[in-house]
C-alpha cells in the first residue's frame, strides 16, 4: 500500500486539534505544556512531509523541522523552570489558580 501525503496531513491535523483541545481544556500547567508540544510536533510532521513529497531535491523543510524541535526544546526548558518556580511559590500548578497578577 502506498503511503500518500494526505495521510501525513490527516495525522498532523488530528495532532494539532488534539493539542488545541488540550491547551484550552486542561487545567494542569504541565498538561497544557504537553498540548503545546503536540501542536508544534504536528507542524514538524507537515514540514517533513511537504519536503519529502513536493520538493524531494530540497532540504529546507527538514532543516526547518530540526530548528522547530530545537526551539521547542528550549521553550519547554524555560516553561518547566517557570512551572517549578510557580509550584515553589504557591504549591499549585492549576491554571485557574494563577491569578495573582490580575489583582
Amino acid at each position: 500500500m502506498e503511503i500518500r501525503l494526505e495521510y501525513y496531513l490527516i495525522i498532523s491535523t488530528i495532532m494539532l486539534f488534539a493539542g488545541i483541545y488540550g491547551f484550552i481544556t486542561r487545567r494542569n500547567l504541565l498538561a497544557v505544556l504537553i498540548s503545546v508540544e503536540l501542536m508544534l510536533n504536528s507542524v514538524d510532521i507537515n514540514f517533513a512531509a511537504f519536503n519529502r513529497y513536493l520538493f524531494p531535491d530540497a532540504m529546507e523543510g527538514f532543516f526547518f523541522a530540526l530548528f522547530a524541535i530545537g526551539v521547542s526544546a528550549a521553550e519547554t526548558a524555560v516553561a518547566i523552570a517557570i512551572t517549578i518556580n510557580i509550584y515553589r511559590n504557591i504549591r499549585n500548578i492549576q491554571v485557574h489558580h494563577l491569578d495573582t497578577m490580575k489583582h
Binding site: 488545541i20 484550552i24 491554571v95 497578577m101
Partner: protein
C-alpha cells in the same frame, strides 16, 4: 535731546511693586513704606527733570514737538500694523507725569501716617506702586493699544485698592462694582480701537493725530447708521473714557469706590485715574476735532449733564467722602465740557488748554481735600458729618489747608481753581451762552456744597465725643503733604499754562476775561454766603425746612436719583432673570448634560464588557479559536 532716563520713571515703581509684592512681608511695615516712598521721591525728581528738559527744548516753528526716547515693536501683525511699547513725551504727557508723581508722592508720605498699624501695610504699598507704574505707563503710551493695556492695569490696581479691606463686604462689593462697570465701558473702548486701527491701519498716536488726512482715507465713505465709521470708533472710545472718568450714566462705581482707604481715593479716584478719560480724549483731540466734531458736541453735553447731576447730588450727601466723590465727578464733567467746546487753532483751542489746566489744578486741590478728609476721618473715626463739627480748634492745620482747597475749588482768586475754571467758563461762553450759563450755575453749586461741607466739618455744633477719644491734629507725616499741596493750590494758578500746553502746540497767551471772571467770582461769593448763613452755626432751621418742603427732590437727590437702583433693577430683574438664568440652565442641562451623558454611557458599556478581560489565557485562546473558525467558515462558504 535724548531723554532715555524717562524709562526709569516707569521701571522704578514696577521694581518696587515686584519687590514689595513678592518679599514685602520680610520687611517691617515701616521699611516697606519708606522703600515705596523713597523710590517714588526719586521717580518724582526724574519726572521734574524730564519736564524741565522737555519744556526748555527749543520749539520747531513755534510748535512743541513730541519726543519719543524709546519705542520698540512688541507684536508684529503687518508692516503697517504693529503694537509698540514706548514712551511718548509731549506737553500733556509731561504735565501728567508731574501731576501723577507729585500726588502719588504726597499720598505715599501721607499713608505712612494714615495706614500706620493696618494689616497688610506692605501689600498696600505694593499696590500703590503698581498703580503708579500703570498710570505713568498710560500717560506716556505711544500708541492706543499700549494705552489700553495700561488702562486695564490701572483698572485692576484700582480694584485691588478699593477692595483693600477685603474683610468688609461693602469694600468687596464696591471693588467688584468698579471693576465690572469700567470693564463694561472698556468693551466699547476695545471695539473703538479695533475699528479705528482697521480703517487707519495704525495704532500710533503720532500718525493718528498728525493732521494728515490720508490716514483716514480708507474710512472715507464708510458710514453706519448715518455716522462715519471714524465717528463711531471715537464715540466708542469715548464710552471707555466715560467709564473710567465716571461720566453719566457710567458714574455709579465712583461713589462706592470711596470704601477704599482715603489716600487711595485721593490718588486714584480724585487726582489721577479718573482723569484718564479726559486725558485720552485730549490725546486723540485732533481726531475728534477733524473727523468727528459731532462726537465732541456729544462729549460736551454728556460732560455738562454729568457735572450738573453730580453737583446737585453732592449738595445733599452726608458722608464727606461721598460729597467729595460727587464733586470729583462734577469737576471731571467740567474738563469734558471744556474739551467738547474747544477748537484747534490759536485762541479757539482755549477749551483744550483750560481742560488740561483744570485737570492739573483739580488734581492738586482735590487730592488735598481727600487727604484732609482722611485726616478728619482719622480723628473722628467716621465719615458722617453729624459726628463732626467745630473741628477748627482741634485741627488747625487741616482746617486751614481744607479751607484753601475749598476756596480753590469754588473759584475764588488768587487760588488755582479760579484761573482754570475761569478759562473753562470763558470757553463755554464762546461756544454758546447757554453752555456758559449752565456751567456758571454749576460753579455756584460747587461753591455752595463745598462750603456746606466745610462748615459742617469745622464749624456748626461740635459733636459729642467719648472722653479720651477727642479729635486731635494728625501727625506730621500727614500734615506735611497737606501743607505742600495747599501751597501748590495757592500758586498753581499763576503758571502761564497756555505757554506749556495748548491744542496746536503753539504758545497760547491767555488773559482773564473781565466779564466772565467778575461774574463767576460774584456768584461763587453769593453761593458761599448762602452756605455761610445756612450752615455756619449749625442751628439754622432753614436747611431742614427746605428738605421738608421739597421732600421728594431731597430724597431723590440723596439716593442719587435712583440710578443705582435702576441698574440694580435692570441687571437683577431683567438681565439675570431673563437672559442669564436661561443661559445658565442651557449650559448646565443641555451642554453639560450631553457630556455627562456621553461619560455615563461609556461607563455603562465598560461595566458590561469588563467580564471579557478575565486574565484566563485559556479563555482567550478559546475565543481566538472560535474567531479563526468563523473566518475560515466565512472564507470557504460565503
Amino acid at each position: 535731546m535724548s531723554m532715555e532716563y524717562a524709562v526709569l520713571i516707569l521701571l522704578l515703581p514696577l521694581v518696587t511693586f515686584l519687590l514689595l509684592g513678592l518679599v514685602g512681608t520680610r520687611f517691617s511695615a515701616r521699611t516697606a513704606g519708606l522703600i515705596g516712598s523713597g523710590v517714588l521721591a526719586v521717580v518724582a525728581c526724574l519726572a521734574y527733570v524730564t519736564a524741565w528738559n522737555y519744556f526748555s527744548m527749543p520749539r520747531v516753528e513755534g510748535v512743541r514737538v513730541p519726543v519719543v526716547p524709546l519705542n520698540f515693536e512688541w507684536l508684529h501683525f503687518t508692516d503697517q500694523l504693529h503694537i509698540d511699547l514706548g514712551i511718548l513725551l509731549d506737553p500733556i504727557s509731561v504735565m501728567m507725569l508731574v501731576v501723577i508723581t507729585t500726588v502719588s508722592l504726597m499720598v505715599h508720605l501721607y499713608s505712612l501716617g494714615y495706614m500706620k498699624g493696618e494689616r497688610g501695610f506692605q501689600r498696600y504699598y505694593a499696590f500703590l506702586s503698581l498703580f503708579t507704574f500703570s498710570m505713568l505707563g498710560l500717560v506716556v503710551a505711544t500708541n492706543i493699544f499700549q494705552t489700553y493695556i495700561f488702562w486695564e492695569l490701572v483698572g485692576v490696581s484700582s480694584y485691588l485698592l478699593i477692595g483693600f479691606y477685603y474683610t468688609k463686604p461693602e469694600a468687596v462689593a464696591a471693588s467688584k462694582k468698579a471693576f465690572i462697570v469700567t470693564r463694561f465701558a472698556d468693551l466699547g473702548f476695545l471695539i473703538g480701537i479695533l475699528l479705528l486701527s482697521y480703517f487707519t491701519g495704525t495704532f500710533s498716536f503720532e500718525r493718528l493725530t498728525s493732521g494728515d488726512a490720508s490716514v483716514f482715507a480708507d474710512a472715507a465713505g464708510v458710514t453706519f447708521l448715518g455716522g462715519s465709521v471714524i465717528a463711531w470708533a471715537v464715540a466708542l472710545i469715548f464710552i471707555g473714557c466715560a467709564g473710567k472718568s465716571a461720566m453719566f450714566p457710567l458714574h455709579i462705581w465712583l461713589p462706592d469706590a470711596m470704601e477704599g482707604p482715603t489716600p487711595v481715593s485721593a490718588l486714584i479716584h480724585a487726582a489721577t485715574m479718573v482723569v484718564a478719560g479726559v486725558y485720552l480724549v485730549a490725546r486723540l483731540f485732533p481726531v475728534y476735532f477733524f473727523q468727528a466734531p459731532e462726537v465732541l458736541v456729544m462729549i460736551a453735553v454728556v460732560g455738562a449733564f454729568t457735572s450738573l447731576y453730580a453737583a446737585v447730588v453732592a449738595c445733599v450727601q452726608t458722608d464727606i467722602k461721598r460729597v467729595l466723590a460727587f464733586s470729583t465727578i462734577s469737576q471731571i464733567g467740567f474738563m469734558m465740557v471744556a474739551l467738547g467746546v474747544s477748537g484747534m487753532e490759536g485762541h479757539e483751542g482755549l477749551g483744550y488748554m483750560a481742560s488740561m489746566f483744570h485737570l492739573f489744578t483739580h488734581a492738586m486741590f482735590k487730592a488735598l481735600l481727600f487727604l484732609g478728609a482722611g485726616a478728619i476721618i482719622h480723628a473722628v473715626h467716621s465719615n458722617e458729618m453729624k459726628y463732626m463739627g467745630g473741628l477748627r480748634r482741634q485741627m488747625p492745620i487741616t482746617h486751614l489747608t481744607f479751607l484753601i482747597a475749598c476756596l480753590a475749588i469754588s473759584g475764588i482768586p488768587p487760588f488755582s481753581g479760579f484761573f482754570s475754571k475761569d478759562e473753562i467758563l470763558a470757553a463755554c461762553f464762546e461756544f454758546s451762552p447757554w453752555m456758559g450759563g449752565i456751567m456758571s450755575f454749576i460753579a455756584a453749586l460747587t461753591a455752595f456744597y463745598m462750603f456746606r461741607l466745610y462748615y459742617n466739618i469745622f464749624w456748626a455744633q461740635p459733636a459729642v465725643h467719648e472722653p479720651g477719644h477727642e479729635p486731635h491734629e494728625a501727625p506730621a507725616n500727614m500734615t506735611i503733604p497737606l501743607v505742600i499741596l495747599a501751597a501748590i493750590s495757592c500758586v498753581a494758578g499763576f503758571i502761564p499754562f497756555g505757554h506749556f500746553v495748548s491744542a496746536d502746540g503753539q504758545s497760547l497767551t491767555t488773559h482773564l476775561e473781565g466779564s466772565v471772571a467778575v461774574t463767576s467770582v460774584v456768584i461763587a461769593c453769593v453761593a458761599i454766603g448762602i452756605a455761610t448763613v445756612l450752615y455756619r452755626k449749625g442751628t439754622n432751621p432753614v436747611p431742614a425746612h427746605l428738605a421738608e418742603r421739597f421732600k421728594g427732590l431731597h430724597k431723590a437727590a440723596y439716593h442719587r436719583f435712583y440710578i443705582d437702583e435702576f441698574y440694580q433693577f435692570v441687571t437683577h430683574r431683567i438681565i439675570f432673570r431673563y437672559i442669564s438664568r436661561p443661559i445658565a440652565w442651557f449650559d448646565r442641562h443641555v451642554i453639560d448634560g450631553a457630556l455627562n451623558g456621553l461619560a455615563w454611557s461609556a461607563q455603562r458599556l465598560s461595566y458590561a464588557i469588563r467580564g471579557l478581560q478575565s486574565g484566563q489565557i485559556q479563555q482567550y485562546a478559546y475565543v481566538f479559536l472560535l474567531g479563526t473558525l468563523i473566518i475560515v467558515v466565512l472564507v470557504l462558504w460565503v
